[in-house]
Symmetry: C2
Subunit: 420 residues, 2 copies
């Protein structure tokens, strides 16, 4: 691992964290290092792979953070019979391990090779020589964490359920596959090196052993959205630039207005994450003439300029005369804020390819993720898209929603507000 700042002395994971083999009896753990991390990030600079984003802070990292290149996302279900204490210890252990891995350190001080030779290593080791690679680890809570599908209040937090947190409604064109959606908890691991993102999900899954297990997961290899004006716009697997009009972190007023929950609840400073696994029917798309592809999207394919004229970042003109008019069913028109009562989303999607199907077609698409202060923002836009010309070429196969807590103080853990 890289040289990072000296790790302050602290207890390790909770006793159950690593299969009972970590030699500390501390049940509650003291977390720290937020301020030090910020200093480190600045000191390390942005050299390749050396980028470090703070784990602790007012908001969780991985939301407005400039989108990293790779994703490993996993949704988890709590184990049958697990208790409130199990959930608390899990969130403590996850926060502790995440605060280390995001700095390029192993999950615990004894790491992958420095513990007892007679115990399984705490860390699985595949990221031992890799830099932090801009890793962010972002946690979210699904509706079923608060109230199970049978109505049970398993963790004594039913009264803490955010008012707006509910399974998404069914949308026109949904073709949801069982097992590819929902979940009690989720972790979004983003990094510029896929091995670093995979290492994070793998080790957090291992730490959860006996308390929670993966329900479904997805790797993403190419970011399709930028969240910073410093990033160039990337392309999705339809070959079009995606996310040109996305919210950018530099527009702090728009971020405040559209992304962060701002109320007196435990969720204040957090957000809502909507996840949609969108399979692209790429063979049908690839048979479509260029003119039609551009009509469907409402932008040119090369430059990404609106069909109403200009260059990539020119405003969309929905009333331009003549041939340049953006079609009534074009994706950019229906998705645009002006068509959705001003609603804007912070998108963080990734391209994916999950092998191929039995007909030899690539199982490919867009793993859509958006952050917003209210699920209504996404729901409104998605309803507008019911007559999207693009629907002929896509199929929504997975869906989930999570309340994403605010960031933790360096002496606490993510989600602590739930238990006060």
């Amino acid at each position: 691992m890289v040289d990072a700042e000296q790790e302050p002395t602290r207890p390790g994971l909770s006793r159950r964290g690593l299969l009972g083999l970590v030699g500390t009896g501390a049940a509650g753990i003291a977390l720290g290092g937020g301020a030090a991390t910020a200093v480190t990030a600045a000191a390390m600079g942005a050299a390749a792979g050396r980028e470090v984003y703070p784990f602790f802070g007012a908001h969780q990292s991985g939301i407005t953070t400039p989108v990293q290149d790779r994703l490993h996302f996993a949704a988890y279900d709590m184990a049958a019979g697990s208790s409130r204490d199990d959930l608390i210890s899990l969130l403590e252990d996850w926060s502790y391990a995440a605060s280390r891995m995001t700095r390029g350190l192993p999950v615990s001080e004894s790491g992958a090779v420095d513990g007892s030779p007679l115990a399984p290593p705490d860390d699985t080791g595949e990221a031992l020589d890799l830099p932090p690679s801009g890793l962010t680890i972002t946690f979210g809570f699904g509706p079923t964490l608060f109230v199970a599908e049978d109505g049970a209040d398993r963790f004594g937090i039913a009264t803490k359920k955010p008012r707006l947190l509910a399974k998404l409604p069914r949308f026109a064109g949904d073709a949801l596959q069982p097992g590819a959606g929902d979940g009690d908890l989720c972790i979004q691991a983003c990094a510029d090196d896929p091995q670093v993102a995979v290492h994070a999900i793998r080790n957090l899954s291992r730490i959860a052993f006996g308390r929670a297990s993966i329900r479904w997961s997805q790797l993403g290899f190419g970011r399709t959205s930028s969240t910073s004006t410093s990033q160039v716009t990337a392309r999705n697997l339809f070959g079009f630039k995606d996310g040109t009009a996305n919210l950018k972190s530099e527009d702090s007023a728009a971020i405040e207005q559209n992304v962060w929950v701002d109320d007196s609840s435990w969720l204040s400073g957090g957000s809502y994450l909507v996840v949609r696994s969108i399979r692209m029917i790429i063979e049908a798309w690839d048979h479509t003439r260029l003119e039609e592809q551009e009509r469907v999207i409402g932008r040119t394919k090369g430059e990404g300029a609106p069909l109403s004229g200009g260059t990539e970042f020119s405003p969309l003109d929905f009333d331009a005369p003549g041939a340049a008019l953006i079609d009534a069913d074009a994706h950019v028109r229906l998705a645009h804020a002006s068509n959705n009562a001003g609603a804007r989303l912070l998108r963080r999607g990734y391209n994916f390819v999950n092998g191929n199907d039995e007909l030899g077609r690539l199982d490919a698409g867009l793993f859509f993720m958006s952050y917003q202060r209210s699920p209504a923002q996404f729901i409104g836009v998605q309803r507008s898209l019911a007559r999207d010309a693009l629907n002929e070429y896509i199929k929504h196969v997975g869906s989930a929603i999570f309340a994403v807590p605010p960031g933790a103080a360096s002496t606490s853990f993510v989600g602590a507000g739930l238990f006060r």
Copy 2:
């Protein structure tokens, strides 16, 4: 796409190449640009993403080329009823498109946006703004291309079948899954950007439409072997350095002796590629104590040094006295050349994660690829591994073998020697 050298005037793909929509009637295509490419590679230098490896030459690139970070591998079957001419035109079209994509260019001159708006674009476009990223595209021919499973000589090349090309024998511990092995043809696309590798496989699959389709495929995210002394040794998902003792391209005598076929056949200058999809039982491994992990491998986990002493690149000493002895069933002992009549392989494996299984365990492992002048080299080593202590933690689920033709002259195409 990046600025690359000026494309010499040449016909496009064969008529059937892109769904019959490319406006050229040329059946045979003239290929060129090999020399120009080499110049370009040198001129572009090794700036991030700008690395270009020549497509044309004595050997195909992607074998001794320093292993790139990402992989998209696909095995194809020829369509029922396809003819010798279909196979020839497919190989011509694939070579033409590959010679362009490896230079960071779209699959044809009209590309993704420069053709007729009334036709589907030749190129799918998702790599439009990306540099060449060290892309290599390497083609191979499976045993069934020469003689189908029912004995048919579909393409009139049965007499050209390399003497040593035959389906691999069954090995102890094989748990092969139907549909995850074999194939008439294969393409190994390696690049430092996964979107560039995916773009290559996607477009080559599209070009094959009606002639061949994907039988199975695999994405790899982390190289586990180095093929150059300039590369650091990477780690597999067991957390150990992998490929320390791999053949290195700088050792040209060992490469000549172990990798390249050298006879008077059409395959001379080519190689044999063995592919094994190895699922790792990572949960069992992660429960194993460090001492046992190191005993199983025969090296230390941190440094990767032999248990017989020294540092990573110290020679393995199988006769060292006392506690440092490498176990009789240790992986490094059984796999070592001295235990296998001197046989050495050029490995090019990648880590993979294919989501998770129904129990919430990551479907993860090693996508093993090795190049050798004779399949016997791999078969001998794999038989030695029958009592490998590592077998408790792995499962071979996919298997395939391909004859990898030599590189093409810039006026020809890969595999042309088959049809002379």
